[in-house]
Symmetry: C2
Subunit: 205 residues, 2 copies
Protein backbone atom coordinates (compact mmCIF):
# COMPACT_ATOMS: atom_id res chain seq x y z
CA UNK A 1 0.00 0.00 0.00
CA UNK A 2 2.95 2.32 0.53
CA UNK A 3 5.82 2.31 -2.03
CA UNK A 4 5.52 0.03 -5.01
CA UNK A 5 6.61 2.69 -7.47
CA UNK A 6 9.73 0.71 -8.42
CA UNK A 7 7.50 -1.44 -10.57
CA UNK A 8 6.80 -5.12 -10.82
CA UNK A 9 10.39 -5.93 -11.72
CA UNK A 10 11.57 -5.78 -8.12
CA UNK A 11 8.15 -6.41 -6.62
CA UNK A 12 8.55 -10.16 -6.68
CA UNK A 13 11.84 -10.13 -4.84
CA UNK A 14 11.70 -7.43 -2.22
CA UNK A 15 8.78 -8.86 -0.29
CA UNK A 16 9.90 -11.85 1.82
CA UNK A 17 11.66 -10.08 4.70
CA UNK A 18 9.27 -7.15 5.00
CA UNK A 19 6.24 -9.37 4.69
CA UNK A 20 7.43 -11.90 7.24
CA UNK A 21 8.24 -9.07 9.63
CA UNK A 22 4.75 -7.61 9.27
CA UNK A 23 3.06 -10.98 9.74
CA UNK A 24 5.12 -11.78 12.83
CA UNK A 25 4.79 -8.28 14.28
CA UNK A 26 1.03 -8.46 13.84
CA UNK A 27 0.87 -11.75 15.72
CA UNK A 28 3.01 -10.63 18.64
CA UNK A 29 1.69 -7.08 18.87
CA UNK A 30 -1.85 -8.43 19.06
CA UNK A 31 -1.11 -11.22 21.52
CA UNK A 32 1.32 -9.49 23.89
CA UNK A 33 0.88 -5.79 23.24
CA UNK A 34 3.02 -3.31 21.37
CA UNK A 35 5.24 -2.10 24.21
CA UNK A 36 5.81 -5.54 25.69
CA UNK A 37 6.98 -6.96 22.36
CA UNK A 38 10.68 -6.41 21.67
CA UNK A 39 12.43 -6.08 18.34
CA UNK A 40 14.60 -9.11 19.06
CA UNK A 41 11.52 -11.27 19.61
CA UNK A 42 10.05 -10.25 16.28
CA UNK A 43 13.18 -10.78 14.17
CA UNK A 44 13.86 -14.14 15.83
CA UNK A 45 10.30 -15.39 15.25
CA UNK A 46 10.25 -14.01 11.70
CA UNK A 47 13.55 -15.73 10.93
CA UNK A 48 15.04 -12.50 9.65
CA UNK A 49 18.19 -10.53 10.40
CA UNK A 50 17.76 -7.49 12.59
CA UNK A 51 19.49 -5.45 9.90
CA UNK A 52 16.69 -6.37 7.51
CA UNK A 53 14.14 -4.93 9.90
CA UNK A 54 15.93 -1.59 10.04
CA UNK A 55 16.35 -1.63 6.26
CA UNK A 56 12.58 -1.84 5.88
CA UNK A 57 11.51 0.31 8.82
CA UNK A 58 13.39 3.26 10.25
CA UNK A 59 12.28 2.53 13.80
CA UNK A 60 10.00 0.39 15.92
CA UNK A 61 7.45 3.22 15.87
CA UNK A 62 7.32 2.94 12.08
CA UNK A 63 6.76 -0.81 12.32
CA UNK A 64 3.92 -0.15 14.76
CA UNK A 65 2.46 2.36 12.35
CA UNK A 66 2.68 -0.18 9.51
CA UNK A 67 0.94 -2.71 11.78
CA UNK A 68 -1.93 -0.30 12.42
CA UNK A 69 -2.30 0.50 8.73
CA UNK A 70 -2.25 -3.19 7.84
CA UNK A 71 -4.92 -3.98 10.43
CA UNK A 72 -7.13 -1.28 8.99
CA UNK A 73 -6.67 -2.58 5.44
CA UNK A 74 -7.29 -6.12 6.64
CA UNK A 75 -10.53 -5.03 8.25
CA UNK A 76 -11.66 -3.29 5.07
CA UNK A 77 -10.90 -6.41 3.02
CA UNK A 78 -12.95 -8.62 5.33
CA UNK A 79 -15.75 -6.09 5.28
CA UNK A 80 -15.81 -5.93 1.48
CA UNK A 81 -16.03 -9.70 1.30
CA UNK A 82 -18.94 -9.65 3.71
CA UNK A 83 -20.58 -6.80 1.81
CA UNK A 84 -20.54 -8.74 -1.46
CA UNK A 85 -22.75 -11.39 0.10
CA UNK A 86 -25.42 -8.91 1.13
CA UNK A 87 -28.55 -7.57 -0.53
CA UNK A 88 -29.84 -4.15 0.45
CA UNK A 89 -28.79 -1.59 3.06
CA UNK A 90 -30.19 -3.44 6.06
CA UNK A 91 -27.98 -6.45 5.45
CA UNK A 92 -25.09 -4.14 4.61
CA UNK A 93 -25.25 -2.63 8.08
CA UNK A 94 -25.31 -6.08 9.63
CA UNK A 95 -22.29 -7.00 7.50
CA UNK A 96 -20.27 -4.58 9.64
CA UNK A 97 -21.28 -6.56 12.72
CA UNK A 98 -20.42 -9.78 10.91
CA UNK A 99 -16.98 -8.40 10.09
CA UNK A 100 -16.30 -7.94 13.79
CA UNK A 101 -17.57 -11.44 14.52
CA UNK A 102 -15.29 -12.79 11.79
CA UNK A 103 -12.30 -11.31 13.56
CA UNK A 104 -13.36 -12.82 16.88
CA UNK A 105 -13.73 -16.24 15.34
CA UNK A 106 -10.45 -16.02 13.43
CA UNK A 107 -8.55 -14.96 16.55
CA UNK A 108 -10.23 -17.58 18.75
CA UNK A 109 -7.60 -20.24 18.00
CA UNK A 110 -4.58 -18.12 18.95
CA UNK A 111 -6.28 -16.13 21.71
CA UNK A 112 -8.99 -13.58 21.05
CA UNK A 113 -8.31 -10.35 22.89
CA UNK A 114 -10.63 -7.79 21.28
CA UNK A 115 -9.92 -5.20 18.62
CA UNK A 116 -6.21 -4.99 17.86
CA UNK A 117 -6.43 -1.35 16.86
CA UNK A 118 -8.25 -0.33 20.03
CA UNK A 119 -5.85 -2.37 22.14
CA UNK A 120 -2.87 -0.67 20.50
CA UNK A 121 -4.38 2.78 20.98
CA UNK A 122 -4.94 1.95 24.64
CA UNK A 123 -1.20 1.77 25.25
CA UNK A 124 -0.21 4.80 23.21
CA UNK A 125 0.08 8.14 25.02
CA UNK A 126 -2.07 11.15 24.18
CA UNK A 127 -0.69 12.87 21.11
CA UNK A 128 0.78 9.76 19.51
CA UNK A 129 0.00 9.59 15.77
CA UNK A 130 -1.08 5.98 16.15
CA UNK A 131 -4.06 7.07 18.23
CA UNK A 132 -5.28 9.22 15.33
CA UNK A 133 -5.01 6.26 12.97
CA UNK A 134 -7.27 4.25 15.25
CA UNK A 135 -9.66 7.14 15.82
CA UNK A 136 -10.04 7.60 12.08
CA UNK A 137 -10.56 3.86 11.62
CA UNK A 138 -13.46 3.89 14.05
CA UNK A 139 -14.88 6.97 12.39
CA UNK A 140 -14.70 5.14 9.07
CA UNK A 141 -16.65 2.23 10.53
CA UNK A 142 -19.35 4.59 11.77
CA UNK A 143 -19.44 6.37 8.41
CA UNK A 144 -19.89 3.08 6.56
CA UNK A 145 -22.86 2.29 8.78
CA UNK A 146 -24.19 5.81 8.26
CA UNK A 147 -23.84 5.45 4.50
CA UNK A 148 -26.01 2.33 4.42
CA UNK A 149 -28.50 3.89 6.81
CA UNK A 150 -28.77 6.86 4.46
CA UNK A 151 -30.03 4.44 1.84
CA UNK A 152 -32.32 2.67 4.28
CA UNK A 153 -33.89 5.89 5.59
CA UNK A 154 -33.53 8.29 2.67
CA UNK A 155 -36.16 10.69 3.97
CA UNK A 156 -34.66 10.92 7.46
CA UNK A 157 -30.93 11.73 7.28
CA UNK A 158 -30.82 13.10 10.82
CA UNK A 159 -32.25 9.93 12.27
CA UNK A 160 -29.81 7.90 10.19
CA UNK A 161 -26.88 9.76 11.73
CA UNK A 162 -28.09 9.24 15.28
CA UNK A 163 -28.73 5.57 14.61
CA UNK A 164 -25.29 5.15 13.03
CA UNK A 165 -23.65 6.45 16.18
CA UNK A 166 -25.89 4.23 18.29
CA UNK A 167 -24.91 1.16 16.26
CA UNK A 168 -21.24 2.14 16.42
CA UNK A 169 -21.45 2.29 20.22
CA UNK A 170 -23.17 -1.09 20.30
CA UNK A 171 -20.46 -2.55 18.11
CA UNK A 172 -17.47 -1.15 19.97
CA UNK A 173 -18.96 -1.88 23.36
CA UNK A 174 -19.74 -5.46 22.44
CA UNK A 175 -16.22 -5.86 21.05
CA UNK A 176 -14.67 -4.55 24.26
CA UNK A 177 -16.74 -6.93 26.39
CA UNK A 178 -16.10 -9.83 24.00
CA UNK A 179 -12.37 -9.21 24.16
CA UNK A 180 -12.40 -9.38 27.96
CA UNK A 181 -14.31 -12.65 27.87
CA UNK A 182 -12.31 -14.24 25.10
CA UNK A 183 -15.18 -15.20 22.84
CA UNK A 184 -17.57 -13.67 20.37
CA UNK A 185 -20.96 -14.35 21.93
CA UNK A 186 -21.38 -10.73 22.97
CA UNK A 187 -20.93 -9.74 19.34
CA UNK A 188 -23.65 -12.14 18.26
CA UNK A 189 -26.05 -10.55 20.73
CA UNK A 190 -25.06 -7.06 19.62
CA UNK A 191 -25.96 -8.10 16.08
CA UNK A 192 -29.39 -9.20 17.29
CA UNK A 193 -29.90 -5.87 19.05
CA UNK A 194 -28.80 -4.03 15.91
CA UNK A 195 -31.19 -5.99 13.73
CA UNK A 196 -34.06 -5.11 16.06
CA UNK A 197 -33.13 -1.43 15.95
CA UNK A 198 -33.00 -1.54 12.16
CA UNK A 199 -36.42 -3.19 11.88
CA UNK A 200 -37.83 -0.66 14.30
CA UNK A 201 -36.38 2.24 12.32
CA UNK A 202 -37.75 0.86 9.04
CA UNK A 203 -41.18 0.42 10.58
CA UNK A 204 -41.04 3.76 12.40
CA UNK A 205 -42.75 6.96 11.31
Amino acid sequence: MSEMGTGSATAGRRRPARERLLVTAARRFYADGVTATGIDTIVAEAGVAKTSLYNNFHSKAELVRAYLDARHEEWLATYRTRLEETVGPREAVLAVFDTYADHAEAAQATGFRGCGLLNAAAELPVGDIGRDVVRRHKETVEELIGCHLGQLLPSRPGEAGVLAEHLSFLLEGAMARAGLEGDGSRLARARTLAAALLDEAMAGS
Copy 2:
Protein backbone atom coordinates in the same frame (compact mmCIF):
# COMPACT_ATOMS: atom_id res chain seq x y z
CA MET B 1 -9.01 -2.64 51.32
CA SER B 2 -6.46 -5.41 51.76
CA GLU B 3 -4.68 -5.80 55.14
CA MET B 4 -5.74 -3.47 57.90
CA GLY B 5 -6.07 -6.21 60.49
CA THR B 6 -3.22 -4.77 62.56
CA GLY B 7 -5.69 -2.21 63.81
CA SER B 8 -5.89 1.56 63.90
CA ALA B 9 -2.72 1.88 65.98
CA THR B 10 -0.46 1.53 62.97
CA ALA B 11 -3.05 2.73 60.45
CA GLY B 12 -2.15 6.38 60.86
CA ARG B 13 1.54 5.87 60.30
CA ARG B 14 1.97 3.25 57.65
CA ARG B 15 0.12 5.08 54.91
CA PRO B 16 2.30 7.84 53.43
CA ALA B 17 4.67 5.79 51.26
CA ARG B 18 2.11 3.24 50.08
CA GLU B 19 -0.47 5.89 49.39
CA ARG B 20 1.86 8.16 47.50
CA LEU B 21 3.01 5.20 45.43
CA LEU B 22 -0.57 4.29 44.55
CA VAL B 23 -1.49 7.85 43.64
CA THR B 24 1.59 8.28 41.45
CA ALA B 25 1.26 4.85 39.87
CA ALA B 26 -2.37 5.59 39.03
CA ARG B 27 -1.40 8.82 37.31
CA ARG B 28 1.42 7.33 35.23
CA PHE B 29 -0.25 4.01 34.47
CA TYR B 30 -3.26 5.87 33.15
CA ALA B 31 -1.34 8.47 31.16
CA ASP B 32 1.47 6.35 29.70
CA GLY B 33 0.29 2.76 30.06
CA VAL B 34 1.28 0.02 32.46
CA THR B 35 4.13 -1.55 30.51
CA ALA B 36 5.67 1.73 29.39
CA THR B 37 5.83 3.05 32.97
CA GLY B 38 8.94 1.98 34.84
CA ILE B 39 9.40 1.46 38.55
CA ASP B 40 12.10 4.09 38.71
CA THR B 41 9.76 6.68 37.22
CA ILE B 42 7.11 5.96 39.83
CA VAL B 43 9.39 6.06 42.86
CA ALA B 44 11.06 9.25 41.66
CA GLU B 45 7.75 11.02 41.05
CA ALA B 46 6.30 9.74 44.32
CA GLY B 47 9.37 10.95 46.20
CA VAL B 48 9.83 7.56 47.80
CA ALA B 49 12.72 5.15 48.09
CA LYS B 50 12.61 2.15 45.80
CA THR B 51 13.04 -0.05 48.83
CA SER B 52 9.76 1.30 50.17
CA LEU B 53 7.98 0.21 47.03
CA TYR B 54 9.20 -3.34 47.40
CA ASN B 55 8.34 -3.30 51.09
CA ASN B 56 4.72 -2.52 50.20
CA PHE B 57 4.40 -4.55 47.00
CA HIS B 58 6.20 -7.77 46.18
CA SER B 59 6.48 -6.95 42.50
CA LYS B 60 5.38 -4.54 39.81
CA ALA B 61 2.58 -6.95 38.91
CA GLU B 62 1.23 -6.60 42.45
CA LEU B 63 1.34 -2.80 42.15
CA VAL B 64 -0.58 -3.07 38.89
CA ARG B 65 -3.11 -5.29 40.60
CA ALA B 66 -3.49 -2.74 43.41
CA TYR B 67 -3.97 -0.05 40.77
CA LEU B 68 -6.77 -2.02 39.13
CA ASP B 69 -8.50 -2.67 42.45
CA ALA B 70 -8.20 1.00 43.42
CA ARG B 71 -9.70 2.11 40.10
CA HIS B 72 -12.63 -0.20 40.64
CA GLU B 73 -13.23 1.11 44.15
CA GLU B 74 -12.86 4.67 42.92
CA TRP B 75 -15.49 4.01 40.27
CA LEU B 76 -17.87 2.55 42.84
CA ALA B 77 -17.41 5.57 45.09
CA THR B 78 -18.21 8.00 42.28
CA TYR B 79 -21.19 5.90 41.32
CA ARG B 80 -22.56 5.85 44.88
CA THR B 81 -22.28 9.61 45.07
CA ARG B 82 -24.19 9.91 41.82
CA LEU B 83 -26.76 7.40 42.98
CA GLU B 84 -27.56 9.39 46.10
CA GLU B 85 -28.71 12.30 43.95
CA THR B 86 -31.19 10.20 42.01
CA VAL B 87 -34.86 9.37 42.45
CA GLY B 88 -36.22 6.15 41.02
CA PRO B 89 -34.73 3.41 38.87
CA ARG B 90 -34.74 5.35 35.61
CA GLU B 91 -32.46 8.03 37.02
CA ALA B 92 -30.39 5.34 38.73
CA VAL B 93 -29.57 3.78 35.37
CA LEU B 94 -28.59 7.17 33.99
CA ALA B 95 -26.39 7.69 37.04
CA VAL B 96 -24.13 4.96 35.65
CA PHE B 97 -23.73 6.99 32.46
CA ASP B 98 -23.08 10.09 34.54
CA THR B 99 -20.37 8.25 36.43
CA TYR B 100 -18.54 7.59 33.17
CA ALA B 101 -18.97 11.23 32.15
CA ASP B 102 -17.57 12.30 35.53
CA HIS B 103 -14.42 10.37 34.84
CA ALA B 104 -14.07 11.92 31.39
CA GLU B 105 -14.43 15.39 32.83
CA ALA B 106 -12.05 14.75 35.71
CA ALA B 107 -9.38 13.35 33.39
CA GLN B 108 -9.82 16.13 30.83
CA ALA B 109 -7.24 18.38 32.49
CA THR B 110 -4.42 15.84 32.56
CA GLY B 111 -5.36 14.05 29.33
CA PHE B 112 -8.47 11.94 28.97
CA ARG B 113 -7.66 8.61 27.41
CA GLY B 114 -10.75 6.46 28.04
CA CYS B 115 -11.38 3.85 30.73
CA GLY B 116 -8.22 3.12 32.70
CA LEU B 117 -9.30 -0.43 33.46
CA LEU B 118 -10.07 -1.25 29.84
CA ASN B 119 -6.81 0.37 28.73
CA ALA B 120 -4.85 -1.69 31.22
CA ALA B 121 -6.59 -4.90 30.18
CA ALA B 122 -5.75 -4.09 26.56
CA GLU B 123 -2.05 -4.48 27.26
CA LEU B 124 -2.25 -7.57 29.43
CA PRO B 125 -1.85 -10.96 27.75
CA VAL B 126 -4.57 -13.60 27.73
CA GLY B 127 -4.58 -15.44 31.05
CA ASP B 128 -3.31 -12.52 33.14
CA ILE B 129 -5.27 -12.14 36.37
CA GLY B 130 -5.62 -8.43 35.75
CA ARG B 131 -7.85 -9.14 32.77
CA ASP B 132 -10.27 -11.01 35.02
CA VAL B 133 -10.41 -8.06 37.41
CA VAL B 134 -11.44 -5.79 34.55
CA ARG B 135 -13.88 -8.33 33.12
CA ARG B 136 -15.58 -8.62 36.52
CA HIS B 137 -15.67 -4.84 36.87
CA LYS B 138 -17.53 -4.51 33.58
CA GLU B 139 -19.89 -7.31 34.59
CA THR B 140 -20.57 -5.45 37.81
CA VAL B 141 -21.46 -2.32 35.86
CA GLU B 142 -23.89 -4.29 33.72
CA GLU B 143 -25.37 -5.95 36.80
CA LEU B 144 -25.94 -2.59 38.47
CA ILE B 145 -27.84 -1.43 35.41
CA GLY B 146 -29.76 -4.70 35.35
CA CYS B 147 -30.67 -4.30 39.02
CA HIS B 148 -32.26 -0.91 38.42
CA LEU B 149 -33.99 -2.15 35.30
CA GLY B 150 -35.46 -4.98 37.31
CA GLN B 151 -37.19 -2.34 39.41
CA LEU B 152 -38.20 -0.33 36.39
CA LEU B 153 -39.69 -3.32 34.55
CA PRO B 154 -40.71 -5.69 37.35
CA SER B 155 -43.06 -7.66 35.16
CA ARG B 156 -40.51 -8.23 32.40
CA PRO B 157 -37.22 -9.57 33.81
CA GLY B 158 -36.09 -11.02 30.49
CA GLU B 159 -36.49 -7.73 28.73
CA ALA B 160 -34.63 -6.02 31.55
CA GLY B 161 -31.65 -8.30 31.06
CA VAL B 162 -31.50 -7.71 27.33
CA LEU B 163 -31.79 -3.97 27.84
CA ALA B 164 -29.07 -4.02 30.50
CA GLU B 165 -26.66 -5.62 28.07
CA HIS B 166 -27.71 -3.15 25.39
CA LEU B 167 -27.02 -0.21 27.69
CA SER B 168 -23.71 -1.72 28.77
CA PHE B 169 -22.64 -1.93 25.13
CA LEU B 170 -23.71 1.66 24.56
CA LEU B 171 -21.73 2.77 27.56
CA GLU B 172 -18.51 0.91 26.79
CA GLY B 173 -18.65 1.76 23.11
CA ALA B 174 -19.16 5.44 23.80
CA MET B 175 -16.30 5.35 26.32
CA ALA B 176 -13.96 3.75 23.79
CA ARG B 177 -14.80 6.35 21.16
CA ALA B 178 -14.60 9.18 23.69
CA GLY B 179 -11.17 8.03 24.79
CA LEU B 180 -9.88 8.11 21.22
CA GLU B 181 -11.23 11.62 20.73
CA GLY B 182 -10.06 12.96 24.06
CA ASP B 183 -13.36 14.39 25.24
CA GLY B 184 -16.66 13.29 26.70
CA SER B 185 -19.17 14.41 24.11
CA ARG B 186 -19.73 10.87 22.90
CA LEU B 187 -20.69 9.92 26.44
CA ALA B 188 -23.24 12.71 26.59
CA ARG B 189 -24.86 11.43 23.41
CA ALA B 190 -24.83 7.86 24.71
CA ARG B 191 -26.72 9.11 27.75
CA THR B 192 -29.32 10.66 25.48
CA LEU B 193 -29.69 7.41 23.57
CA ALA B 194 -30.00 5.50 26.84
CA ALA B 195 -32.68 7.85 28.14
CA ALA B 196 -34.68 7.33 24.95
CA LEU B 197 -34.40 3.57 25.26
CA LEU B 198 -35.56 3.76 28.89
CA ASP B 199 -38.58 5.88 28.02
CA GLU B 200 -39.42 3.53 25.21
CA ALA B 201 -39.17 0.50 27.47
CA MET B 202 -41.35 2.14 30.13
CA ALA B 203 -43.97 3.05 27.54
CA GLY B 204 -43.70 -0.34 25.77
CA SER B 205 -46.14 -3.24 26.18
